[in-house]
Symmetry: C2
């Protein structure tokens, strides 16, 4: 299992449409067979800063996400709304290790 934090800094004037595009991506991503979590978070105190918390049961499942139409639509839709390039940071999951508990 693998988690990626995707940190996104959004231009203030695009926040509302960014959230809308992320929600559409969320609702499709959680249907992917290898997806465990796909949380959309907005930082308290900085509404232009977001984190996508993406957990997949394998590297292959995480890579397959990149091949989906909903991911590619999201990527292209939000590209010009970012104030700076997004940053993905991969993590190993130590707990929980039982998928059923997720």
């Amino acid at each position: 299992m693998i988690v990626t934090f995707v940190h996104v800094w959004v231009k203030p004037e695009n926040i509302d449409e960014f959230i809308k595009a992320c929600k559409a991506n969320h609702y499709e991503s959680v249907k992917e067979p290898g997806n465990l979590r796909f949380d959309l978070l907005q930082e308290e105190g900085d509404p232009s800063k977001f984190v996508l918390y993406e957990a997949y049961e394998s590297e292959e499942a995480a890579k397959a996400h990149k091949d989906t139409l909903h991911y590619q639509t999201w990527r292209d839709t939000v590209a010009n709304w970012m104030a700076s390039p997004r940053k993905g940071i991969k993590h190993k999951i130590l707990c929980p290790l039982d998928k059923l508990k997720w």
Copy 2:
């Protein structure tokens, strides 16, 4: 619902015991009635950097966590193993909003 990322930088010589203490905290924390997620993550490429991903159904539930014996035991146990002060960053959860989907 609220999420806190707790970023922790651990002294290299204390990594193994830090993980052990965090796992003990994890297994008790997920039993709390207001807890939604309590993930322990280790950064790829930097095994001394950890993130605790803590989701609670309310501010009150998040505060109640601080009153538990398992939290206080963790806090006191790991205090001297940190290479620098831990940093908690609060986030608003935009998706998922249905607790049942967590």
